[in-house]
């Protein structure tokens, strides 16, 4: 299946392991990735806050690029998904806004008709690829692992822009996938909460206590690891975890996996191929539970 692939800034920056693992799982899933190399950053909601028209135009350009490829746009980041969904919703429902965007990107030789569908890999796995096909790609069941899902705000809220009113089951896809891979999903409140990353630069200690509290809650419920479809959550949950531990005065030590890394493991790839040896919190303990080594 052909998709217009939007990797997002973080998978090309501080989380290269996400990009590597997403590329690795494409083949077993039958995904033909056409990367949108010239698409700009979504602005992560920061640009739209101070300059909504600018953010509309930048995201309109990305949506037009995907439209030109004639394929659905696939994200691997909850934040990219949320921002693109938000702008797409408004451009598809507000002709004036769309005209304005087209006047701006028209100068650059682009036009957005409003037909692009924006879908996170998580949604594609269930809705387009199908759990049956995912199941067939499994070579190694992750039996014995207890895995806590961590969605990230922007793939859950606001529901209106994300199509969650029509498809409320999207809020359960991580749990469904964890079970399909042979592991046990951990039920805890933090799964749908905020990792605190948007506040990291202005309110560091508060941001870190948010991240830390959710991981500790999952750990108390027996989680061996957390899995997230959002690399920004990953930056706070993994990258800042030792500091979050200091803020909470607790040792946390729970590894955080990107969604494609978890799938890759079940598809029989080695932890090194998925760059599971490039995390701040070592993945060793969790991997040993399924008899793997880094």
């Amino acid at each position: 299946m052909k998709v217009a692939f939007y990797p997002g800034c973080v998978s090309k920056g501080a989380c290269p392991e996400l990009y590597t693992s997403a590329m690795a799982i494409a083949e077993p899933l039958g995904l033909e990735l056409h990367e949108l190399t010239e698409a700009p950053c979504t602005g992560a909601g920061v640009l739209s806050e101070q300059n909504p028209e600018l953010a509309d135009s930048l995201n309109g350009l990305t949506l037009a690029m995907a439209e030109e490829k004639g394929a659905d746009l696939m994200t691997i980041c909850s934040t990219c998904q949320g921002v693109l969904s938000n702008h797409n919703y408004h451009l598809q429902n507000d002709a004036q806004r769309l005209d304005k965007v087209n006047a701006t990107i028209g100068d650059q030789g682009f036009r957005y008709k409003g037909t692009t569908k924006v879908k996170h890999l998580l949604w594609m796995l269930v809705e387009d690829i199908g759990l049956e096909r995912v199941g067939k790609a499994i070579k190694r069941k992750l039996t014995g692992l207890k895995i806590a899902p961590f969605y990230g705000c922007y793939i859950l809220r606001p529901e209106e822009y994300l199509g969650l009113k029509e498809r409320p089951e999207r809020k359960t896809y991580l749990e469904q996938l964890i079970a399909l891979l042979g592991a046990e999903p951990v039920e805890y409140r933090g799964a749908t909460k905020c990792c605190g990353f948007p506040m990291l630069t202005f309110n560091r200690d508060k941001s870190l206590s948010m991240a830390g509290n959710h991981i500790v809650e999952a750990k108390d419920k027996g989680a061996d690891l957390l899995v997230t479809p959002c690399p920004l959550c990953h930056l706070n949950l993994d990258g800042q975890q030792p500091d979050a531990g200091r803020v909470l005065n607790k040792s946390i030590d729970v590894p955080i996996f990107h969604l494609p890394q978890l799938l890759g493991l079940a598809f029989g790839m080695s932890p090194q191929e998925l760059r599971l040896d490039h995390h701040v919190v070592p993945t060793k303990g969790a991997l040993e539970k399924v008899e793997l080594k880094v």
Partner: protein, 287 residues
């Protein structure tokens, strides 16, 4: 409705059950509580929608003190509400006004979304910033503040924006959209907070990490088409804020050791000229 069930329990099973309610029709805002882990008006929540395997979980929200059973102590909520001075400060009128003060319709239409707030507190009950920072003004008070900041009759427009830009104000919201999701009236408090951020920056209240973060973000996207994570953090914290800069060092060191530090030389996306041209054409703050 969940509230009907609670009243039935109180009437026929346990008269000691404490529930706060009055209008039973989503107007008075008394019966906000946690139903299955999120804030809802009990009188507006269909029992069938909230029942899983024969069970519905109701509780007082954990972020507020509890008076008894399902009754949360709303004192912190009202304290925040009054902190933003939720009343009009009149502009000086001519000594002998000849006619009433009329407000253009369009100006009030802009505020109507906030005016419909019933002060039930559902947004604060699910606010993730409030859950870890009890001093945060919170979504209801900030949305209320926008109602007055945006009113052309108010004399305190600038003063209010200055105060709201301080600690525990508009920049302490974590942008999680829980308040938008839980508000039973469609007030969308986060949207109002974002409007306040723009108004505050436009009014010149820019010496805060939030504004520095937005400016550094925009600069990076304009010049390379993508985010430069390496410079975003120090620029947001402020280069001369040595104390806070030092606090970020252990994490930077951990990331570098794991091979997760973004490349020192930040590469632009192909066709970045196009992005610069869009910034220039749209204009505004980031031009």
């Amino acid at each position: 409705m969940v509230l009907d069930a609670l009243i039935a329990i109180r009437e026929y099973q346990d008269e000691s059950l404490a529930v706060r309610c009055a209008c039973r029709s989503a107007i008075c805002g008394s019966c906000a509580m946690w139903v299955n882990g999120h804030a809802h008006l009990a009188c507006k929540s269909r029992l069938s929608q909230f029942t899983k395997e024969g069970k519905t979980r109701v509780e007082a929200p954990p972020s507020l003190p509890v008076i008894r059973d399902l009754v949360a102590d709303m004192a912190p909520f009202w304290e925040k509400h009054f902190k933003v001075k939720p009343w009009l400060e009149n502009k000086p009128l001519p000594s002998k006004p000849m006619e009433e003060y009329t407000v253009p319709n369009a100006a009030m239409e802009e505020l109507i979304q906030e005016v419909i707030c019933i002060s039930c507190g559902a947004c604060l009950m699910d606010c993730e910033s409030f859950a870890i920072n009890p001093d945060f003004l919170g979504p209801q008070a900030l949305a209320k503040a926008y109602r007055y900041v945006g009113d052309p009759r108010d004399a305190e427009h600038r003063t209010r924006l200055g105060e709201l830009s301080d600690r525990n104000g508009i920049w302490d919201c974590t942008h999680c959209y829980e308040c938008v999701q839980q508000c039973p009236k469609g007030v969308a408090p986060l949207d109002q907070i974002l409007k306040l951020r723009k108004l505050a920056v436009d009014a010149g209240f820019t010496t805060n990490p939030g504004t520095r973060h937005a400016d550094a973000f925009a600069e990076s996207v304009k010049h390379s088409g993508r985010l430069n994570e390496l410079t975003l953090l120090p620029k947001s914290v402020g280069f001369f804020n040595v104390f806070d800069q030092l606090k970020t060092l252990p994490s930077a060191f951990n990331m570098a050791r794991a091979g997760k530090l973004p490349p020192i030389i930040h590469k632009s996306i192909p066709g970045v000229k196009r992005i610069k041209a869009i910034f220039d054409r749209v204009g505004g703050r980031f031009k």
